[in-house]
Symmetry: C2
Subunit: 652 residues, 2 copies
């Protein structure tokens, strides 16, 4: 059951699509402290908290302070409070009680979950205006499904988006892209997407293609498509200020950019230098920007990723000017502890400064609203612009779309990737731990940058991460400018990479079926063990996942490990894959095990009474569709597995 | 057996005190590539690499690139190559072969341990000049002891330095220090040291005390000592440029500061703003600076910590001037991807810029040597200045001393703390993993900042970290300006903290005995399991430690964990302490176990045939000395344990 409560006078977010009347009762479970702008509840020792989407730390969110305040911060260390997304749904779970809470506000809100005090959960608002949904149900999965139903069906990508994708900031020319495709082909590693990061554009202008480095783009798109490869360009939130650039000129003329209090368009800067930000919260501006994607779909593009939409701000022109003036004061001085750090702070305040969010305004639902009040739904509405437009531009066929920034509601229009992570072993674990929390909030088409985006990677990390990544819907290797190259063909163990990625393709019938069932049924694709198993030990497991109905995963995420501990809540069949057609099976008893796994092995645990379909991977997606399936079963018949299939491209 | 080889014309470091003739044979195991300035060896799959002291990542160093290049960088994330120390000793270990390698060079050197290529270890030099020691022996412990014998006996602190210490950047006044002492007393938590961070000084001038905030300092030192508390002030590497300040004026007059190529004293900046750095590599300057510690020992101080001695440099005056000039070029421009990041890089180049190491020179052993060539022995020689002086100033009694920066050789004069870590769970694990590597390099009196220095901590992290920290010789809680307070009395579970810290005091007879035996016998205090157990599984364990002869530790280092997996290489007796006098014992069989441990429990595994002495902790160190011991034994007699005891203060 879901009840809706209201505090203050909330700005709507359009995240909930069901019309639920506001209850006049007091909010259950919580103490309301209007003065402190706080809702709080006493945590019992057994209470565990799950949810909040894409955040740092473990699955059980107790013991830290999480702040919804979308931020472009690539250092996802344990001390961070905010990442790119605001996904304000969580569940309180123990044997004694279970309920879900959705805090719907587009502004800044913190979740102090046993941080200040070990046994207190406090939701602390900047503005005490929000809709609060309390979700109850039989079990935690019911609660999640109940919540998911009111926020609407999750985005469904084309089936080809379950292939493997290679990215890099950036492949600079069409020839470089061809080389990537060639080398994957030579290595016998299937590939279905190559991502185009910012450098495909002409001077970082959205909806342009640099004609010198990517000549005859439509032909190139077609050429790649005949090789089974979709090109997926990036789109940024900022529109370059440049005379003669149509998007800029139209936006100015039609008043579609965000404005300062004095009515002038805000001048901020990102990749191209000075930009204006479209007012994605304004319906007309959103429709206008969304229609621009047609420039690229008309050239054959059928997938995009939206970036920098927190929005990331290198600087605002006004603040940069202030900083340069103040820098003068430090010149020639004896900079000591106070003045030196003041100088560092001054310069550090230039980029991604939350104070800049107070410098501009939106036209949102007929009101002029300062950005900081609706900050967390900006990226959501950029991606919504695209999603709504795709229904016009491509009414029959699905378009691939995922975004960096997000808010609940955006899950109807797109997936997300887990942002600019690092080539750290701890970020492989973070990837594992974020997945169920994202699913709870409606985001099903998700995945992290495999191998890590920032920092130099290592081959063993890429091997282990790829061995996990083959199970995530968005399966992409991506890395940053200046870091070690991490295309799989560049490493020493190409046969291992080939076997791992081909296993992904063999698994697509299962992964796609489970994805579609989760999307259609408002269910989770990745679950913590304790969402299905009621034993105490299961609720302690933070590094294993149930994936769909048939399998459990226990990935290796530490360097030099030749194995790991695995907890089995019931008997399972361990399948040790060396390749899709080379594996051993072993029945393992419920309980704790130390299980070895070589760098070239992928271990899957098949649950009792379940079957896992496997396809012949061939060289890519098409073969997978056509192939005969075989099944790995554990006390189940192949026919017990309900396969989902469709044409993979028609809108549903 | 130890053999010494020489490449090029190395600058001596004084780290090895035994006179070993240079062998004219080729260096065993390694390929020498003079052109590439590289020694390399092929790694077999089974080879594990241990050592390198205070570095990031796990115990087995395979899979990353470590660079000895002492650096003041507080973000100890997995991608870092250099921290504060250069400790160039490592062991190659497998069933088939085992040998130690010490690369003795004061300059920059990298250890590419299966990073570039999974099965190649390369030692890559900036200057191809070094002494290479190859150490062989019966087993890995023999190899370590063999190496430790040629570098001389490890530093031995006074016994009181095994008490608990509280620190903070900074306690600003004597009254604030008194309050800390009072609150610990009220909480019934023993405390033997309070650390004074930079603010006790007058304008951050070494060897001064601010008279307004710490009036009548000698009386205050005495007052605290009567309460059993030693005040331990910090000393920084930079000497403030200030007319009338004796250390500055003497240093200038006697030519004891490092100089630029033109003969002028280098002007750099740290806390007080502009400073000169003493030339610790110059014998006379070192003796002069060392004698300055007498200013404080004369006021009753008997312990110090040396900081900022990599050296940390906020800026050099010359480079800062250049930067301010170049900043002009960016003013008023449209800063885009190139120019914006160029601007950020320019400003980022101000502090701790390795290029600054080329701006100044030392007088070292009769030669003028540019700093970058001897960079890694700078902090070592600052601390050596103190250690050598203490033998003159305090010929009978030991003085507590530990340093942030270090090089092998410094272990004879002081301990180290693990530098400016963070309040991250991953840094509790890093603390565990760094200990044996530090021991291998001679550093026995070590410990990390418990609870984490940077970032806001959480009570559960402090509980778990303290429960591990009671086993480390240096047992100190320390945190940074601006972060959440983390004195133990400020949390909710004071009884748990009291029991944990008192257990430390009950363990002091054991810890001090094992420490002294390790120091006198050139042995390790903390060992990876596989240094004693030959089974395959032991060599996989990266989160458990053998501590001395009697016990094994398996700390909990993840948030919300109610237990953890533990591997027992043989049967052991698990002792589950709730307090020093409240515990259960249980025999556990060799093998893998999942073991529960509450936030208030400390688990110790007593090894078969061994005994663990326990004292009555009373309220502090004095009671521990006088008390009767009881023993927890596992198939052993109390008398089988060889207790070490001395007066705890006389030099040995």
């Amino acid at each position: 059951m879901i009840r809706k409560y209201r505090i203050g006078n909330p700005i709507p977010t359009d995240s909930v699509i069901e019309d639920i009347p506001v209850s006049q009762d007091g909010i259950p479970y919580f103490n309301v402290d209007e003065e402190a702008k706080e809702l709080s509840l006493f945590l019992e020792k057994e209470d565990k908290i799950f949810g909040l989407g894409e955040t740092v730390r473990g699955m059980n969110k107790r013991g830290w302070l999480y702040t919804s305040n979308n931020t472009d911060d690539p250092n996802h260390t344990e001390n961070k409070h905010s990442l790119y997304a605001s996904q304000n749904f969580f569940v309180v779970l123990s044997k004694k009680r279970k309920f879900g809470v959705y805090v719907d506000t587009p502004g800044k809100v913190s979740f102090d979950i046993g941080y200040t005090s070990l046994d207190k959960l406090a939701v602390v608002f900047e503005d005490f205006d929000a809709d609060i949904y309390i979700v109850t149900g039989e079990g935690v999965l019911d609660i999640v499904t109940g919540f998911r139903k009111i926020i609407g069906r999750s985005y469904i990508p084309p089936r080809w988006a379950f292939g493997f994708g290679q990215s890099r900031w950036s492949y600079m020319t069409a020839d470089e892209v061809r080389e990537v495709a060639d080398k994957y082909e030579e290595a016998g590693i299937p590939l279905n997407m190559i991502y185009l990061d910012i450098d495909y554009m002409e001077r970082y202008k959205d909806f342009t293609v640099d004609e010198s480095s990517f000549p005859e783009f439509p032909k190139f798109v077609e050429e790649m498509k005949t090789r089974g490869i979709h090109l997926v360009p990036i789109i940024d939130a900022g529109v370059k200020i440049e005379e003669g650039y149509d998007v800029y000129e139209e936006g100015v003329k039609r008043g579609f950019f965000v404005k300062k209090d004095n009515g002038e368009n805000l001048v901020a800067a990102v990749w191209p230098g000075r930009v204006h930000f479209p007012d994605f919260l304004n319906d007309e501006a959103r429709a206008w920007f969304g229609d621009k994607y047609k420039v690229l779909t008309d050239q054959g593009i059928d997938g995009f990723w939206n970036d920098m939409n927190e929005p990331a701000i290198f600087y605002t022109e006004d603040h940069l000017g202030e900083v340069f003036e103040q820098i003068e004061d430090f010149k020639g001085k004896n900079l000591d502890i106070d003045s030196f750090f003041a100088f560092k702070e001054l310069v550090g305040s230039i980029d991604n400064n939350p104070e800049d969010y107070k410098r501009f305004y939106h036209e949102y639902k007929g009101r002029k609203i300062r950005h900081d009040k609706v900050h967390n739904i900006f990226g959501y509405n950029m991606t919504r612009a695209a999603g709504e437009a795709f229904e016009r531009i491509s009414p029959d066929k699905r378009i691939l779309m995922f975004s960096r920034s997000s808010y609940i509601g955006m899950h109807r229009y797109a997936g997300v990737w887990h942002g600019d992570n690092q080539s750290w072993w701890s970020h492989l674990l973070l990837n594992i731990q974020q997945l169920p929390a994202l699913n709870m909030c409606g985001f099903l088409y998700t995945g992290a940058d495999i191998g890590g985006f920032g920092s130099d990677t290592t081959e063993d990390l890429v091997l282990r991460w790829t061995a996990f990544g083959i199970f995530t819907p968005l399966f992409r290797n991506h890395s940053a400018l200046g870091t070690r190259r991490q295309e799989l063909y560049g490493f020493e163990n190409i046969p291992s990479f080939r076997n791992i990625v081909r296993l992904r393709y063999a698994l697509i019938p299962y992964l796609y079926s489970e994805f579609m069932k989760a999307a259609m049924g408002s269910r989770m694709l990745f679950k913590p063990l304790c969402f299905e198993y009621g034993d105490d030990r299961s609720s302690q497991v933070e590094d294993q996942l149930l994936l769909g109905e048939s399998i459990m995963l226990a990935p290796i995420y530490t360097q030099n490990a030749e194995g790991r501990y695995v907890y089995l809540p019931e008997d399972m069949k361990l399948v040790r894959f060396r390749a899709y057609d080379d594996y051993d099976e072993e029945i393992m008893n419920a309980g704790d095990h130390y299980v070895r796994a070589g760098l070239d092995e992928i271990l899957v645990y098949v649950r009792k009474g379940h079957a896992l379909p496997l396809a012949e991977p061939g060289q890519g997606l098409e073969e997978v569709t056509a192939s005969q399936l075989k099944y790995i079963c554990y006390e189940a018949e192949p026919k017990s597995y309900e396969l989902y299939s469709d044409d993979g491209i028609s809108r549903l």
